[in-house]
Symmetry: C2
Subunit: 457 residues, 2 copies
């Protein structure tokens, strides 16, 4: 049993959906569902309710399942148990955003022509809605497929309870494959599918040396300065210029990218100039394109995201801070284990700065999938039909903890059909999405669902 | 011509002054005369007006002199041109203070028994008022001495226009000696006079690598991280554990403290345990008392006061900051020249991190006076009479740029008769002063003025 897609009908559906799509996206974005900040707990709850509401209003079933942490929203467009089933993964929590730094308010979505400005527009509420609109079309037009939804609210904090949720609700989300729409293309002219993700291990390193800030004239020379010491520790961990990590054992089991890997990345159209300019990067660690894509897709990192403590107002206030905290994370590549990396780091800090306290934060395993097989073929064809372009198979430098959990618990193929562009500003200020990607995204998923419906269970 | 001090009369004067002293201090402290913050420009002006007002209301002359920066308030209790003259230096600007960090509002002085809580209570508004009350007593009781006031409003930003002011107004502030009341005792049981000050050179080091914060998953490994690079630069400048500065040439002309210097410091009663506990220092670079006092009084430092840029909210937000600024200053000792040190630092940064921008900020020369001579003898005697204790001659780890200017322009002896205690929290949160030091301070200066009146012009 197969269906045919009537091009005119689909075009008309997408066109006529624009108004409600924008209204729904606005409703979603205006809820500041910041999972990182406990102050937004009630917004997460509200977001889950709104998500369940929209699923129901579209004709799907919907259920909010409480985890040990924040809720997961599941739902389904059911056709027939004998039809194939796909599970769609998205997340409806977002990164924090400081309204003072944005051109428009991050939690009051602004529509500027084709452009949607606001936190979560591209990561990941906009793509989630595109898939939903596609699924509704498939359902209304009786595609012989069951489409399940799996909308998480802890992705931005590393999905700490998702693994447990999956184990407890395995049946409810069971399918032949998963499709994830939460990745970024290499450039706006080149659709890309990631088949590998870096993992991550985050830490908070705190050093306190006094009960209050001190006067650097009075005590300077004798007092320990926690910011200066953390700077020293960081410099012992990483060569900031090359990015080379100096923690003993860190590179054990890290495979070096082969000539073939990099040839593939280059063939996919990775363009260093465009990569940099679309992200407003002024200067980089390398100008060599082969080195560059190997760095973001196949190499681990050590980053300091911020150092708190000390004076941050105008001018120089000559205090010696009493306490400082370095916010650190490392991206890990397939072959590395976050637990082992944590052990190495804890040991290293204990040696170099014994009274620094290390809090082990979010942990995500790296992921490596495949670029071959029937699901990859379906995705290739869907991209061709929706965007009239060959899709490239690349890797993703970021981490989606949920993906590793789905791989471990569900043990089914996972495909990444992303809609975000580099210029959308993932995790950055002035995050945005656009109707071009949203509408072509609906088309992409209609075709993908149709092709999946033809894959025998 | 000499006067005798009638003990009962002075005691009664001090006792009866308490109410107005507290009211005046409150009035002074409640003006947030933060010289570092341009937003407080009008408070500096108001503070100068209030200072001139009180001088006049006490019977002194008063004048507000506009400099190229903020004003200086001068005044005088004139007795006779043939009498000796002393110039009293204080400053009436203050450090910034964040009300959220304080137990009580920093700019709404709270009186808690004998204790006065608020920004500027001990640094330097409280001591300024004690000297003023003493001077009024000397004037009302016809001490044969002229007492001039020199109240500055740019001390906390390194007195950038004070040198120029002195050159233009040399006659108005001419005297046989200067007395400065803006230093901290070694401990509350031990009056101390500083005869040396460290200098200072501050810098802002900025590194920008992109136009906006980036996602560490997307670009990590390729992107330069300005916080990590500044941490690396800092580690190349200083060994945070030992405090040893690694900039080539930095220790040229830095005299090593002699056994005699340190013997004197120790004899003065410098107590490391008390030094640390009164400042709530939990851990230090040394536990050796001789090493400790040499470090704060005779050795240069390199401190990082804060690093801005990056994420500072709760948890870990995995951005790569696009820009970071390190707020740095070095304390310098006699023998070092801030200009030469700046040159060394600029050269070093240009080599190690060529695209970092260095802004040279406040600069103060180190100062070295004497522990011998008639003015020192007068101070010793005044301390004995006011506090019934031997005063110790030590050094000061901090910097008072105005002192170097006075030494250069006025070329007369400068004495430091401080009233602040370590537990008063100079530059720290919950800064305070107390009636004990304020009242004994009045007594101290009455005796000192009396003794100065006996020193022939």
């Amino acid at each position: 049993m197969t269906v045919e897609i009537q091009t005119d009908r689909l075009t008309e559906y997408i066109k006529s959906s624009r108004k409600t799509y924008e209204a729904k996206l606005q409703e979603f974005v205006d809820v500041p569902s910041v999972s990182m900040d406990p102050a937004h707990e009630k917004d997460i709850k509200l977001m889950a309710e709104k998500a369940a509401e929209i699923l129901k209003s579209f004709g799907a079933s919907a259920e909010i399942i409480q985890t040990k942490g924040k809720p997961v929203v599941i739902g389904e467009f059911k056709s027939d148990p004998n039809h194939p089933t796909v599970t769609v993964y998205n997340h409806i929590d977002v990164q924090p955003a400081d309204p003072e730094e944005w051109k428009s308010h991050p939690f009051k979505m602004k529509i500027d022509g084709d452009k949607y400005l606001g936190r979560g527009t591209t990561d990941d509420k906009g793509p989630a809605l595109s898939v939903l609109y596609a699924a509704k079309y498939a359902f209304d037009n009786k595609f012989p497929i069951n489409i399940k939804f799996l909308w998480e609210t802890e992705e931005e904090i590393g999905s700490p309870n998702f693994h447990d949720f999956l184990e407890k609700n395995k049946d409810k989300v069971a399918a032949q494959s998963v499709v994830v729409s939460d990745t970024v293309w290499i450039s706006k002219d080149l659709p890309a599918i990631s088949y590998g993700l870096r993992g991550m291990q985050a830490f908070l390193v705190t050093l306190q040396t006094a009960g209050k800030d001190l006067h650097s004239g009075e005590v300077g020379g004798l007092a320990r300065n926690p910011i200066t010491e953390l700077a020293g520790l960081i410099a012992e961990c990483v060569d900031a210029k090359t990015g080379k990590i100096k923690i003993p054992g860190f590179y054990d089991n890290v495979p070096v990218a082969t000539k073939e890997d990099i040839d593939d990345f280059i063939k996919s159209g990775f363009n260093l100039e465009e990569f940099a300019s679309s992200r407003d990067m002024h200067t980089m660690r390398t100008d060599d394109v082969r080195d560059a894509c190997a760095r973001v897709w196949t190499e681990p990192t050590f980053e300091v995201h911020g150092i708190t403590g000390g004076y941050t107002g105008p001018g120089v206030k000559t205090i010696i801070p009493h306490k400082a905290e370095a916010k650190i994370s490392m991206r890990l590549v397939p072959g590395q284990d976050p637990e082992k990396v944590s052990e190495m780091f804890l040991k290293f800090v204990a040696e170099k700065c014994p009274d620094a306290k290390v809090e082990v934060k979010g942990s995500l395993k790296p992921y490596l999938g495949t670029r071959e097989g029937i699901f990859c073929d379906a995705a290739r064809e869907a991209f061709q039909l929706a965007f009239d372009k060959d899709v490239a198979f690349v890797r993703e430098g970021g981490s989606i903890g949920a993906v590793v959990s789905m791989q471990e618990v569900l043990d089914i193929p996972i495909m990444f059909l992303g809609l975000s562009l580099p210029e959308h500003g993932y995790h950055a200020i002035n995050e945005n999405f656009d109707w071009g990607q949203a509408s072509s995204g609906i088309k992409l998923f209609v075709h993908y669902f149709k092709l999946l419906s033809e894959i025998k269970k």
